[in-house]
């Protein structure tokens, strides 16, 4: 029983945290006023770039090196960040419909990464394959604390990326709520004209916000690739990006409540599969559990739509020369 609870916590956290950091990315973008349905594509593109780097480095450095893992994290963030500029450019510079832009960015990410994975495997590595194998990342257990019943599970078999995410999340929280940049960013999502009048640069702030969402999504994608998938392939597009969206809607576009939402989603998932396993049910039952986050969010929206307020200027095109 205790074992089961432990693995619920261990698996729950390793899924919750990537989801959470992606949700923070979404919050950055949407609090600045740019609708971001592109998270799914951003995390995929980030994971692709990171996985490619890790794969190349892995071949150079051999299997034991930790370098590929950390370089993958870094390059996933870079990749997601650069690719997200496409969404930012479409939404901010070309004033495209932000929902459509998000859909486009997702579709293009899937197409590009699947194509490039195959093409690179064939031409550069000479082996036809539709994936980059990464294996599951090493984990560590904190000696001492991990022995504490239940609470210790949070310190057991931890992926290194979980630590990275927690650090990134704290930094992201600090920037959004405590700094000058964050104050202006959130103002952009409520009334961009106010920021403009106060001498802030709305377009630049939003552009950066979208890039942050790209970087954080890229990081999340890489974490999924190193844990659940153990590889990069088109399997990365499982809809985690949309799950993160559900997360921050559930969390009312605020970071801490979104953590709460992601914890619910993550633990429902791990508890669900643990129950399915323990009860000896067919694995298909775990699909039923996957419904939970989406159904919960829908129910929340139905019953609490009054308290659930998207940023005022979300989805609006800001045009300071508009006459």
């Amino acid at each position: 029983m205790l074992n089961a609870i432990n693995s619920v916590i261990i698996d729950g956290m390793s899924f919750t945290l990537p989801l959470f950091i992606m949700a923070i990315g979404g919050i950055y973008s949407e609090r600045s006023g740019i609708t971001n349905l592109a998270l799914e594509g951003l995390q995929g593109m980030g994971a692709f770039v990171g996985a490619l780097v890790a794969y190349i480095l892995g071949q150079q450095l051999g299997g034991d090196s930790r370098v590929p893992f950390y370089m993958a994290m870094l390059f996933a963030m870079l990749g997601g960040c650069v690719y997200s500029m496409l969404h930012a450019f479409l939404c901010i510079r070309l004033k495209a419909n932000q929902v459509i832009s998000g859909v486009v960015v997702n579709i293009l990410a899937m197409a590009l990464t699947s194509f490039l994975t195959k093409a690179i495997n064939r031409t550069a590595f000479g082996a036809p394959s539709d994936k980059f194998d990464l294996g599951v990342s090493d984990r560590f257990t904190v000696p001492g604390i991990s022995k504490i019943p239940i609470l210790g599970a949070f310190f057991t078999k931890v992926y290194p990326f979980e630590v990275i995410i927690i650090i990134a999340a704290v930094i992201a929280w600090y920037f959004l709520y405590r700094t000058r940049f964050g104050l202006r960013l959130r103002a952009c999502g409520d009334n961009p004209a106010a920021v403009d009048a106060a001498g802030g640069d709305v377009a630049k702030t939003r552009f950066i916000a979208v890039m942050v969402s790209g970087a954080l999504s890229g990081l999340a994608g890489m974490c999924f690739a190193y844990s659940i998938s153990a590889k990069f392939s088109s399997d990365i597009y499982m809809g985690y990006g949309y799950l993160a969206i559900a997360g921050y809607i559930f969390g009312n576009w605020e970071i801490l409540p979104s953590l709460f939402a992601c914890l619910i989603f993550g633990f429902a998932r791990s508890a669900g599969s643990e129950i399915v396993l323990a009860a000896g049910l067919p694995t298909a039952y775990s699909d039923l559990i996957m419904i939970l986050p989406y159904a919960l969010t829908l129910v929340l929206l139905i019953f609490f739509s009054k308290h659930n307020a998207a940023p005022h200027a979300l989805g609006e095109i800001y045009d300071k020369a508009k006459r």
Binding site: R178, T179, D190, N191, A194, A197, A198, G200, H312
Partner: protein, 512 residues
């Protein structure tokens, strides 16, 4: 060397927008420490001129000198650096931020946590804002959230924002449009105080009375050109008005005595709640008779537009009864009410009265398209639309580039309003509701609309007029009801009211 008395000089400024010259060779010079008014109709180019001073546009020709030095003001922050501040007509405030957060936005005070991590220091900001507000007599509570405070407080926040930025040249863009008469008086006092404190004030307005009360000098603009600069002392309102519009203005309308008939609209104990469940109309009763213009006067946001929306069916009634010619329409939907006998010229012509991306003929048929002969068996009959559209275009002199086919979006505001008024009057309904029918129109168009309102009344229609312009109400109304805080202060024949008295009821000072 004699000191240059002028703090702002704008010389030979020309600004063009596609298809229009907004400012044409305009030269103005503002002295330090004076209140300088810019007077002109809508579209005369006042705001454009000031937008260039504030760095939102750059002039195509001409130069701007601040404190005698030529400046290229390329952004609002550059203007702020020159100590120029502007209170915009539409407040630029972040609704979910506190007053202090709004004031410091863009000029945040920073502190460092543990000596390394910079953060926005709101504690000091709150204190500074409180001090500033005391210093200038602009009372606000720094920690209140904007969405919870009223309009005049928001305006004070905008003024404080400028003062916080050490503005010396303060531009006010139509600052009184949203205020009650008392609030206007207290604002004008604040403006005087600011001047006496050494600030230079530029006041954009089209209200002659305010200029006469506070301004030292006044520049009059007409169609982008400078008509002249005048000392306010020694000018009378009529002279200013005629300079502003370019011809002698007839300030009174030809109005026949009222021939009132039976009650057409009968509203009894009407209660209306807004989206948030807040009661905005609190038990209002009145009748509008055939051949009568019944006007509701009041400051914006006191429930008057909600009365119109509730009568027309756009808002739900939470209590009371509405009858038209004896038919209870309280529970009818919008269309059934219209068919029972009601036309409605709404306040917001672009967002409510028209579908801007529909053609003119589709908009003119907005009340009829679903009726025969506009449709047969649910199939639209285009030739009928064309014919009807052409008739109305001719009858109401609606001007547009491509007639029936014109996208309404591309038409001027005056012609858009003509289209709405024509369409609604054509319904020949016993009751017509006009809400802010002349807002944003030029004097010619205003005269035209006023004439049509009187014609309707003389034809024996009941007219419900809701306007924020007291002048308009005093000119047109047979009966006036003054609304304050969702209730009528007084209902009486127009002749029984003086303008001042209406003002007092509008502010809720006087209650009956």
């Amino acid at each position: 060397m004699a000191e240059n008395p002028y703090i702002v000089e704008m010389r030979h400024i020309t600004k063009r927008f596609p298809g229009i010259v907004a400012n044409d060779d305009v030269t103005i010079s503002v002295k330090k420490g004076e209140i300088y008014a810019l007077l002109g109709e809508n579209g005369a180019g006042k705001s454009t001129l000031m937008s260039m001073l504030f760095g939102m546009y750059e002039p195509d020709e001409g130069q701007i000198l601040i404190r005698g030095k030529e400046e290229k003001i390329e952004s609002p922050s550059y203007a702020a650096g020159l100590n120029i501040g502007m209170v915009h007509q539409h407040f630029k405030l972040v609704s979910n931020y506190t007053i202090a957060e709004n004031i410091v936005l863009g000029m945040e005070l920073m502190k460092k946590a543990v000596g390394i991590f910079p953060y926005v220091d709101m504690k000091s900001a709150n204190r500074e804002v409180a001090e500033l507000s005391k210093q200038y007599g602009l009372e606000v509570n720094p920690t209140d959230v904007i969405s919870d405070v009223n309009v005049s407080t928001r305006q004070r926040v905008e003024i404080l924002k400028m003062l916080y930025r050490k503005a010396e040249i303060l531009i006010f863009d139509e600052p009184t449009a949203v205020l009650t008469p008392q609030e206007i008086q207290s604002l004008l006092q604040i403006i005087r105080n600011l001047r006496d404190g050494g600030k230079t004030i530029i006041l954009i307005t089209h209200k002659l009375e305010e200029i006469r009360q506070v301004a030292d000098r006044c520049a009059i603009l007409r169609r982008g050109k400078l008509v002249g600069v005048y000392d306010v002392a020694g000018m009378d309102a009529k002279k200013m008005a005629s300079l502003m519009v370019g011809h002698e203005v007839q300030l009174t309308l030809d109005k026949k005595p009222m021939q009132a008939g039976a009650a057409v609209l009968d509203v009894e104990n009407l209660h209306v709640e807004n989206e948030d469940g807040f009661e905005v109309v609190k038990g209002v009763s009145f009748q509008v008779r055939a051949g009568e213009i019944f006007a509701i006067a009041g400051v914006s946001g006191n429930g008057q537009t909600e009365i119109a929306d509730a009568v027309a069916g756009l808002m739900k009634v939470s209590g009371g009864n509405i009858e038209i010619n004896g038919t209870d329409i309280t529970h009818f939907d919008v269309r059934k009410r219209a068919e029972t006998g009601l036309s409605y010229i709404p306040e917001d012509r672009q967002q409510v009265g028209l579908v801007l991306d529909f053609s003119l003929e589709d908009n003119l048929a907005l009340r009829n398209y679903y009726k025969e002969p506009f449709q047969k068996n649910s199939v639209l009959q285009r030739p009928v639309f064309h014919k009807y559209g052409n008739e109305l275009i001719a009858k109401y002199d609606i001007r547009s580039a491509n007639g029936n086919e014109t996208m309404v979006r591309s038409m001027s505001g005056g012609n858009q309003q003509k289209a709405i008024v024509g369409r609604e009057i054509e319904q020949d309904a016993p009751l017509t509701i006009f809400v802010q029918p002349t807002r944003g129109l030029d004097i010619g168009a205003i005269e035209n609309i006023h004439r049509q309102i009187l014609e309707e009344r003389d034809k024996g229609k009941a007219v419900l007029l809701i306007s924020l312009e007291l002048d308009e109400i005093m000119q047109l109304a047979d009966t006036i009801a003054v609304i304050y805080n969702g209730q009528f202060g007084k209902i009486a024949p127009a002749a029984d009211f003086t303008t001042a008295e209406v003002g007092e009821y509008m502010m809720g000072v006087k209650k009956s």
